[in-house]
């Protein structure tokens, strides 16, 4: 049972991340992100860092979620960006980007694996931390791939947030819930929130000024960022 719960937890995290990144209906993706952030908070609490869990719930779920919904124009009378992402990348770019993201993931995985091999991290002694590493790796890979592939700015913001969360999980999985780790993650959380807020405001302004939701200029057809 005690080994099973964290496993389910990790699975939920990856699942929500997947929904958040793959779903083209932006409102649903944002809601999935809020759920994901709450799951993250739960993970920190499990790890013995309740204050970090609280910070995650506050900054990750509440504030970032509010910022994302603001970007969608949920509470605004002015029309927000369309609620559906229908941009498509050129077909030949997609596999290359996937390939690079996978190579990047393999690189990180090799680092983590070598670390485990050297026995510096007594991972097996701490059962609670074990599932964090593969989950973090998976979420980071998804985030990296999505960041490289998506063109819609809101989805790139989501991808960036998930990439960050995956790295936080890896960090905690590798080094435990020490004070330094908590401080690093806390800084990361605040910055991710501020970045998302800034990004959300920018998306609204860009849409209002030029009704565009990507950075692809008109003279670069189908290019995408």
């Amino acid at each position: 049972m005690s080994a099973f719960v964290p496993l389910v937890h990790a699975g939920l995290l990856v699942g929500l991340a997947l929904v958040c990144l793959v779903d083209r209906r932006l409102a649903r993706a944002c809601l999935a992100f809020i759920g994901f952030a709450l799951m993250m908070a739960l993970a920190w609490w499990h790890l013995g860092a309740p204050w970090l869990g609280l910070a995650e719930a506050l900054f990750g779920a509440l504030f970032t979620g509010l910022a994302l919904l603001h970007a969608l124009g949920t509470w605004s009378r002015e029309p927000g960006p369309p609620s559906h992402d229908h941009f498509l990348r050129r077909r030949r770019q997609v596999p290359i980007r996937l390939l690079v993201a996978v190579a990047w993931a393999i690189l990180v995985a090799m680092g983590v694996g070598l670390l485990l091999g050297t026995g510096v991290v007594e991972l097996l002694a701490e059962g609670r931390r074990r599932p964090l590493l593969p989950a973090g790796l998976a979420i980071m890979t998804l985030g990296a791939w999505a960041f490289a592939t998506h063109t819609h700015l809101l989805r790139r913001l989501l991808a960036f947030n998930l990439l960050g969360s995956g790295i936080f999980l890896l960090l905690a999985g590798l080094a435990g819930a020490r004070a330094e780790v908590q401080a690093l993650i806390l800084v990361g959380l605040v910055v991710a929130w501020l970045g998302t807020l800034l990004g959300a405001v920018l998306i609204r302004r860009l849409h209002a000024l030029e009704s565009r939701v990507t950075l692809v200029a008109e003279d670069e057809p189908g290019g995408g960022e």
Binding site: F160, L171, L174, A179, V191, I203, R212
Partner: protein, 495 residues
């Protein structure tokens, strides 16, 4: 190598006076920024009156006389580390001087460009935050502080770039925001691996315990990639030029002069401390730097807008800094000493000259009202001061004597010859030629008299003078280079 960065094996507390001065240097800028946001200065005089550089000068003389300090600073359960040696004090001084110059310029610029009061007021707290984050980056001796400072710097820089509020500024700023955030995440990933492997974050401890091995290499590769993206090094530089295209000149000046270099500073520090024997990796970075010199020069040569010329020239000039890696890593003591001095002199000289150049370009743009090079026709007669400033700054960038750029490139050249690393000699020569090409292209446009316009706008003299002063400082740094170089001699700060 840890002594080069003023890191001691056993840190001890700062003397109280020094601690007070440091706290002032770190805390005063944001406070002043908030005050200035509420009461925006209408005149450059109160800005210039901020005496922070004097305090830093005192710190510098103290450090030069008695050697550097490296001290732990406890923050609850966290153990942070700060160090103050000649290098960090010099960089701190440079930062504060440039910030004050840019702030003084911004006062005139706001009035001349008729920027709305509300948008302009936000500049001040952001400048303050940027100053503090840069100061922290020069001073911090552990990865946690560096991470926090790096993030603060990135956010402040992005926010400053967004202030003009036009669509192209917003789009470029959005791109910058995304890349800055992702670059920091790559850095955090590397830090996670390091922390997992060696269990500590302080640089002195890491440099003593880290052993070369795949985990270290992967970690350094990850965080290098993130820092290279933030430092706008070829081929990850492409966000830089659009960002500068629409930013305000005082913001561009600070960004081109300091912000991109902070990432370089961290990168060099980590390589020298963590993988001091990694020659092949250093050559890869040197190769990237050479490519940056040529690529930046080429693009500056064919850029259409004046600010694009200056922005691409930043890309090229940053490339010179990367030559420090192959010249410092795995070379003899003498080569490393030359390259060390040359690198920091290049950094300082370029920072001053680039700030001057952005300001001069801003003056030309404001006066002509257009950003294109072709619009500069006839400026040679009407705006000689701004053009002269541009020219003096360009002397430093081209590396002509007696500028700081010349001394720096001379030192790098000597180091490359001494080490027998011929490719860099070629890069230095080609880079200077390309720089001359794009600078003279700008001047050629200014001397066109065929369609002389007569509606140049009058600007306050102060705006030209600040830029001229910076350009002359860059030139004078070459004459008085002995003073900083004596302090930067490896171990020069040591008693």
């Amino acid at each position: 190598m840890s002594a080069w960065f003023g890191l001691a094996a056993s840190p001890e507390a700062f003397p109280p006076a020094m601690m007070a001065a440091l706290s002032l240097a770190l805390l005063a800028p944001p406070l002043l920024g908030v005050v200035a946001m509420r009461f925006p200065p209408r005149h450059p005089a109160p800005v210039v009156a901020v005496a922070l550089p004097a305090i830093t000068l005192w710190l510098l003389t103290a450090v030069a006389a008695h050697g550097g300090h490296h001290a732990p600073v406890s923050l609850g359960a966290l153990d942070l580390q700060l160090r103050l040696d000649a290098l960090s004090a010099l960089l701190l001084l440079l930062t504060q001087l440039l910030m004050l110059a840019s702030a003084a310029y911004a006062v005139g610029h706001r009035q001349a460009a008729r920027i709305p009061r509300r948008a302009a007021a936000w500049l001040w707290p952001l400048l303050g935050g940027l100053t503090t984050s840069l100061a922290l980056i020069w001073l911090a001796a552990d990865l946690l502080t560096l991470y926090a400072a790096l993030e603060l710097m990135g956010l402040c820089a992005v926010a400053m770039m967004l202030l003009p509020g036009q669509a192209d500024a917003l789009a470029a700023g959005m791109r910058y925001l995304l890349f800055a955030l992702v670059g920091s995440l790559a850095w955090l990933l590397g830090v996670a691996l390091l922390l997992g492997a060696w269990g500590r974050l302080d640089l002195a401890g890491l440099s003593a315990t880290v052993e070369p091995g795949p985990v270290t290499w992967i970690a350094v590769a990850l965080l290098s990639a993130g820092l290279l993206l933030k430092a706008a090094i070829f081929p990850l530089h492409a966000w830089l030029a659009p960002v500068h295209g629409s930013a305000w000149p005082p913001v561009s000046a600070i960004h081109g002069a300091l912000v991109v270099k902070a990432s370089f500073f961290i990168l060099l520090q980590l390589w020298l401390l963590l993988i001091p024997g990694q020659v092949a990796g250093a050559w890869v970075l040197g190769g990237l730097g050479s490519a940056a010199v040529l690529w930046g020069g080429l693009l500056a040569w064919r850029a259409r807008g004046l600010k694009q010329v200056v922005a691409f020239s930043t890309v090229g000039q940053l490339g010179y800094l990367l030559l420090a890696f192959p010249l410092l890593i795995g070379t003899s003591e003498a080569v490393a000493a030359l390259a060390w001095q040359g690198t920091w002199l290049q950094l300082a000289g370029h920072a001053l000259a680039k700030a001057a150049m952005f300001m001069a370009a801003g003056n030309l743009l404001l006066a002509t009202g257009h950003g294109g090079l072709a619009e500069l026709a006839g400026t040679s007669r009407r705006l000689p001061l701004a053009l002269m400033t541009f020219g003096i700054a360009a002397v430093t960038l081209m590396g002509l004597p007696p500028s700081a750029g010349f001394t720096a490139k001379w030192l790098l050249l000597q180091a490359a010859l001494l080490a027998g690393q011929w490719p860099w000699v070629l890069v230095l020569a080609l880079g200077s030629l390309l720089t001359a090409a794009y600078v003279f292209r700008v001047f050629r446009y200014t001397f066109v008299e065929e369609a002389p316009r007569h509606d140049f706008r009058q600007l306050p003299v102060g705006m030209d003078l600040i830029a001229l002063l910076l350009a002359l400082t860059a030139l004078g740094l070459g004459l008085a280079a002995d003073w900083p170089l004596a302090m930067l001699r490896p171990g020069g700060g040591e008693p």
